[in-house]
Amino acid sequence: MIKAKDINENSVLEDLTPGGEIYEPGTARDFNTGTWRIDTPLFLAEACKHCMLCVPFCPDSAIPVKDGKRLDFIYMHCKGCGICEKVCPFQAIEMTMGGEVK
């Protein structure tokens, strides 16, 4: 069975699946979809109280949580929508202009 990670923009049609079916769950994680970001959030770790409010508000999977701690952004998935900055009660997120991480 063809795995999602083995499919890329150079795959020949013999290595693709009928109808573009994907035979595993959660494969969005493996793909860089953050390339068209025009604004970029910065995580200010010292201001963060780990309330986790930003996590469910993130429309993508750009805010990782590990062992009860909110970690830095996964820019591979962040589209720069800025919702996390709006909902953060502690000014621990700052939006910056441009897609680059400063």
Partner: protein, 394 residues
């Protein structure tokens, strides 16, 4: 077993014998009786199909697509504007490679509104990626529906199949037909066992994900290859069907074509009328024959060109206008198929029978007189013409 069935009841009965998992049901004339008969089978407990009543054909086809993706076998029936309302979903079913089976009872498309037969509905869906198989009569409508699933569900094909019959002429006329035993039908059609499906918990599946330009072209070529491959699968299934039924089917039927110089190419119930006229012409010594297209998608271009290669003049009969201003859809396919032949017949196109306009043996004889004239003089006259309309003599 011999039974007196209308075309609609014949198809509904085939569905009952198959006992599909899901039916997306929405009524529209002249296909209404199919979900109506089937509802009775459901109510009587004769099938254990999930019968889903919906609010439109857009939804009945959506139900079928979702069910088929989940791993179930889904069927539906529709006509005319109902098929038009499914338009978007027809492409989804085909491109997601979901082998839904649809009985299309051919009826004219509005407008002006008309409930009678022509092929404008299914011809409008000819580029949607569905296999299309047309019936001449009730027996063929029954047989084609039974053959549809083994064709479409084949793992190297995976395409939806539309079995078509002429509205009222076939769907409502009652004929004596031969039915197969239910066990034989179930055995022939078999279980639907796709390799992957949404409800397979071992490996969850994503169906119909967004296909960016880096992938779309490849997926369309794969779909086109499947359509090309379906031709041999259709023949293979027909051969297997002959073993259990004794009835022989091909991509098209050649009627008295062996030494035919003049021929018609047509689709559907008109073949019955035309065959009677051909028989009469043969008695009068005219070398007349006809080809009845059974499979329109995939189009049997090479085979048709071969079958017409010895003829002198051919009229391609379109029961759909198409409004290309260059002839109907069957004409376009036939003329294209003949292009590669070194020797090819004179070809004319006759658009006829729109919105239920009658087609009689007299009409067929008139067409053959025109073909004889073309053969004699080498002059086709106007190539794209209409038959049966009232108009001032020019």
């Amino acid at each position: 077993m011999s039974k007196c069935f209308s075309g609609n009841e014949a198809v509904a009965y085939a569905m009952k014998q198959i006992n599909p998992d899901v039916m997306g049901a929405f009524p529209i004339t002249p296909s209404t009786e199919i979900p109506e008969y089937f509802a009775e089978y459901v109510a009587n407990g004769e099938v254990n199909t999930e019968y889903v009543t919906v609010e439109s054909e857009h939804s009945s086809m959506s139900v079928c697509i979702a069910a088929q993706a989940a791993g179930a076998r889904a069927v539906s029936a529709t006509s005319s504007c109902g098929l038009a309302l499914m338009y978007e979903l027809l492409y989804i079913a085909a491109s997601c490679r979901l082998p839904v089976t649809l009985a299309c009872v051919n009826r004219a498309l509005s407008g002006p509104i008309n409930i009678n037969n022509d092929h404008s509905d299914s011809m409008g869906a000819r580029d949607s990626g569905w296999i299309q198989i047309y019936a001449e009569n009730n027996q063929e409508a029954y047989d084609n529906f039974i053959m549809a699933m083994p064709i479409g569900e084949c793992s190297s094909i995976r395409l939806p199949v539309m079995t078509c019959m002429d509205g009222f002429i076939t769907s409502h006329a009652v004929e004596n037909i031969e039915l197969l035993e239910t066990d034989a039908v179930r055995n022939f059609v078999g279980e639907y066992n796709p390799e992957n499906y949404l409800l397979k918990k071992e490996n969850p599946l994503a169906v119909g994900p967004y296909d960016i330009s880096s992938y779309y072209m490849e997926h369309k070529v794969m779909q086109a290859e499947a359509m090309k491959a379906s031709k041999s699968r259709i023949i293979q299934v027909a051969n297997e069907f002959e073993k259990i039924s004794g009835r022989k089917y091909g991509l098209f039927e050649e009627y008295r074509m062996d030494d035919a110089e003049l021929a018609l190419v047509l689709i559907g119930s008109s073949a019955g009328t035309a065959k009677a006229a051909v028989d009469k012409l043969r008695e009068d010594g005219v070398k007349a024959g006809l080809i009845k297209i059974r499979v329109f998608r995939p189009f049997p271009g090479e085979e048709l060109a071969q079958a017409l290669s010895k003829t002198k003049a051919v009229a391609v009969m379109d029961k759909a206008e198409g409004f290309s201003a260059n002839g109907g859809p069957l004409f376009a396919e036939t003329r294209s198929a003949l292009y590669d032949q070194k020797e090819r017949p004179y070809l004319i196109n006759i658009v006829y029978g729109l919105g239920g306009r009658d087609f009689k043996t007299d009409d067929v004889e008139k067409i053959f007189r025109r073909l004889a004239d073309i053969k004699e003089t080498g002059q086709t006259g106007p190539i794209y013409t209409h038959l049966g309309q009232r108009e001032r003599r020019k």
